[in-house]
């Protein structure tokens, strides 16, 4: 961590605060988390779990979609915006190298995302616990949800930089980010689902499918949160796939992906000829 990296991180945070991105991201998280928590609070009695558990299960489903989206919206023009303004060549003529610049931007975007996650899920969790009760297990599940959401966001912040470097302009970067989100969050699952239906319970479904699924960071996020808590698993009705894998598979996938993402971003940024 160099002073130059911190200088870039500081300025990027200033920009996120100034153009109200920090506020918007936090507001989105709070509103969606509250809406899901209270709209999805019906099954508490029948399943015999406290309300915070139900809330965490709902918010897990939400976060799969929202964490990558918010992350990509922050990061998609991190490089292409500077290229468009003509300021990237100037930035690169200063002493910091490309790795330091990327790391500085990453730190600030990750901090902003973490803030939005903690406030959003924290508010909804606190309200759920206050109105419907909470236990050690459900509080742990909430903490896990927040931590894994930040990890998932980190993956897509880094992938957003890679897209931003490759796209050449902010408009193209926005389109490519939307495609990236669609592939990881929607199309990948649909493809796997189709394959499982075609396979009709054969070797693919038994041994390959769970690994393929957990290779996608969005699914690894889901599996980790569900497999780690029986109560959340019951509530979400998703147990089969999660139990077919060793318990380390999903955490390892979600912990490795931010590193893969940053490596890809660094390679793509290295190819930018400002």
């Amino acid at each position: 961590m160099t002073p130059r990296t911190l200088a870039i991180a500081h300025t990027e945070l200033l920009i996120l605060r100034r153009n109200r991105w920090l506020f918007m991201a936090t507001l989105i998280m709070v509103l969606f988390a509250l809406a899901l928590t209270f709209a999805g609070s019906a099954p508490t009695g029948s399943l015999g779990v406290d309300m915070l558990t139900v809330s965490v299960a709902s918010m897990t489903t939400l976060s799969v979609y929202l964490a990558p989206l918010v992350a990509l919206m922050m990061s998609f023009d991190a490089i292409s915006g500077d290229v468009d303004r003509g300021s990237l060549s100037l930035l690169l003529s200063y002493p910091p190298n490309r790795g330091e610049i990327l790391l500085g931007k990453f730190l600030s975007h990750l901090a902003a995302l973490s803030f939005a996650m903690v406030i959003g899920f924290g508010t909804a969790g606190a309200l759920a616990a206050w109105s419907g009760g909470a236990g050690v297990d459900s509080l742990l599940a909430l903490a896990r949800l927040i931590a894994t959401s930040i990890l998932l966001g980190a993956v897509f912040i880094a992938l957003g930089y890679a897209v931003s470097s490759l796209a050449g302009s902010s408009t193209a970067a926005a389109g490519m980010s939307a495609a990236l989100w669609l592939v990881f969050v929607v199309l990948f699952d649909l493809g796997l689902l189709g394959a499982v239906v075609m396979d009709q319970g054969g070797t693919f479904t038994q041994s390959i499918f769970p690994w393929l699924m957990v290779a996608n960071p969005a699914d690894a996020f889901r599996v980790w949160n569900i497999a780690a808590s029986d109560a959340v698993a019951i509530t979400s009705g998703m147990t089969g796939a999660a139990t077919a894998l060793p318990s380390w598979a999903a955490p390892v996938s979600l912990l490795i992906w931010p590193i893969i993402g940053l490596a890809l971003a660094r390679i793509a940024f290295g190819r930018v000829d400002p």
């Binding site: 200088a7 200033l14 915006g81 303004r85 300021s87 060549s89 003529s93 002493p95 000829d273």
Partner: protein
């Protein structure tokens, strides 16, 4: 004293087209070099190779003995990109503070912004700045940390005449403190008066590199003499001297620099039929046209 910037037979291809071909160039400390050329002649590419932003196929570049792109070279180099813009959400002070922290030199941000005439706007967002103000902010960051080499790409684009004067005053100060200054420009009349040496690039090849007077002598472009005379005698005079009629009251002759005095004496001897003479020596514009068209 050793040159600050030494470029030796640099060539670069972009795809199959050669954008730089065996370019040699040096800039000494305190020297102001104008780099001229058409759009696409390779000026900006040459600057990017000096910054280490793009690789070179052949040749070598040294900035104070360091290779381009190294941390040591970047610390000694200041750069003003062509029509630069900054993040609209930041204020001028915040943007310049970032550059100061990145450069690693303690800087008087307020003083620098005063120096380029932005003291009234330093806490306003860059989004509200005019093009000229953004250019001034870009110039302020050039002055950070007393660079050994300053690379200015079209520094006067978007500036009004007064601002241009200010800009060249600042460039003169930079040169006076020992900075080697390279100015890529289209504004020929400005660099004519404000630089020590002129290099011209044509299609990636350096076609000229010398002082203005040496280039004039080398090109041997004609001086134009315009003679005004009484309208009833003008045809006779024009025939006698061998000039070309321009309108009812004047005609023009051209001569090389060393014949100029002879011609003047000849015209003076014509007596009071001649009302006025104006003399136009070859200007940078003529030289530029001469060198950039030569095949």
């Amino acid at each position: 004293m050793d040159s600050t910037l030494i470029i030796k037979s640099v060539s670069k291809f972009r795809g199959k087209t050669q954008v730089l071909q065996d370019v040699d160039l040096t800039v000494a400390p305190g020297e102001r070099l104008a780099l001229l050329g058409h759009n696409g002649a390779g000026k900006s590419t040459l600057i990017k190779t000096i910054l280490g932003l793009t690789s070179i196929g052949r040749g070598s570049i040294q900035i104070c003995g360091e290779s381009p792109g190294t941390s040591a070279a970047r610390q000694r180099t200041a750069f003003l990109p062509e029509s630069v813009s900054f993040h609209p959400a930041l204020t001028g002070r915040e943007q310049l503070t970032l550059f100061a922290r990145l450069s690693g030199f303690p800087a008087d941000v307020q003083g620098l912004l005063d120096r380029v005439g932005l003291s009234d706007a330093l806490d306003r967002r860059i989004g509200t700045y005019s093009k000229g103000m953004r250019q001034r902010l870009g110039l302020a960051q050039v002055l950070l940390g007393k660079p050994k080499l300053a690379l200015l790409d079209e520094p006067t684009s978007g500036l009004d005449p007064i601002s241009r004067q200010d800009l060249y005053t600042i460039i003169d100060e930079l040169a006076a403190q020992g900075t080697a200054v390279l100015i890529a420009s289209h504004a020929l009349t400005e660099v004519e008066a404000r630089t020590d040496r002129i290099a011209i690039l044509r299609k990636g090849i350096k076609v000229a590199d010398n002082t203005l007077s040496a280039l004039s002598a080398e090109a041997d472009l004609p001086t134009r003499l315009r003679i005004s005379a009484h309208s009833d005698k003008i045809d006779q005079l024009a025939q006698q001297v061998g000039g070309r009629r321009i309108n009812g009251a004047s005609f023009e002759i051209t001569c090389s620099a060393d014949q100029k005095m002879d011609e003047l004496r000849r015209i003076a001897a014509l007596g009071d039929a001649v009302v006025d003479i104006s003399m136009t020596p070859p200007r940078l514009e003529d030289l530029y046209r001469h060198y950039s068209r030569k095949d």
